[in-house]
Amino acid sequence: MAEDIKEKLEKYRTAPFDARFPNQNQTRNCWSNYLDYHRCQKALDAKGVDTTPCEWYRRVYKSLCPMSWVQKWDDQREDGTFPGKI
């Protein structure tokens, strides 16, 4: 399992086609992966486990989300005003 994710990360080029978001509007795709990364970090940190699997979500949201959105959301998380549930 751990080797699989490492292999996937090494071969990463860009965010692949996601069948959950097959159409033109990719807003939710970016949002979903941003949330999934931070939830994954929080959950695996709490268990004290290696957080490498979370890297996938980070790569995908980095590919998809505009830098200004990521910056805004990071600031909101710091301030405690982030609208998503992590």
């Binding site: 509007n25 807003t27 200004s68």
Partner: protein, 230 residues
């Protein structure tokens, strides 16, 4: 880019645009022939010296001018639907670029590996060098590798804009708060121009898009250089 008095579409730089171009030629030929035929009939009837006042109906010609148009419409619809479905094919992009519209410039972000972002302003007319195109040139071009499927995610930071490059067959609205996906392949190396296609204020006509397709090696060198300069 379009040239003075150009009426037709620009030369295609992507496979989808080639299809659209051929379809356009096909449809235009059909409507030209129909118009020429109708014009001929009208002229013939208007200049005829004799008239037959007793023709009330004719089954034969009614059948012909019902069936023939139906067939012509099918001949237009089939390639049209084919292209419609081709546009919706699932892509497997090699690269994702974000194009963000601002008042009044575009910014491009290449964040698959490192965080590369830069602005692209129009070159003012007084700063053009000989051979450059007025109102179309930009200081930084969006460079892409040739023959690679590219995904562009278009959005805006303030008002509505639209990211369009006619020779690639691409136009996508830039909506604040929304991420619109468009995919294409540049089939040949070259420089392709477009202009903002949604009214966005005073300088809407002065925020062009320039895409430069280069071999993969050149793209990699360019992105390393851009990262160093940033």
């Amino acid at each position: 880019m379009a040239q003075y008095t150009q009426l037709g579409l620009q030369d295609a730089a992507s496979p989808l645009m080639e299809e659209l171009l051929h379809f356009h030629d096909h449809a235009l030929m059909i409507i030209t022939l129909i118009s020429a035929f109708v014009l001929y009939i009208i002229l013939t009837m208007v200049t005829a010296k004799t008239t037959d006042k007793y023709i009330l109906d004719s089954q034969e010609v009614e059948i012909i001018w019902t069936v023939l148009p139906a067939i012509i419409l099918v001949l237009i619809a089939l390639p049209s639907l084919r292209i419609l479905y081709l546009l919706d094919e699932i892509n497997d992009p090699h690269l994702t670029i974000k194009a963000m519209g601002h008042q009044w410039y575009w910014s491009y972000e290449y964040t698959d590996y490192e965080d590369l972002g830069f602005d692209s302003y129009m070159v003012p007319t007084q700063d053009l060098t000989p051979g450059q195109f007025r109102l179309l040139e930009a200081d930084h071009r969006m460079v892409i590798p040739v023959e690679s499927p590219i995904r562009v995610l278009v959005s805006a930071e303030d008002v509505l804009h639209s990211w369009a490059v006619p020779s690639l067959g691409v136009k996508m609205d830039a909506v604040p708060g929304r991420l619109n996906q468009v995919a294409f392949v540049a089939s040949r190396p070259g420089v392709f121009f477009g202009q903002c296609s949604e009214i966005c204020g005073a300088n809407h006509s002065f925020m062009p898009i320039v895409v430069e397709a280069v071999p993969l090696e050149h793209f990699e060198n360019w992105s390393s250089l851009m990262l160093e300069d940033a």
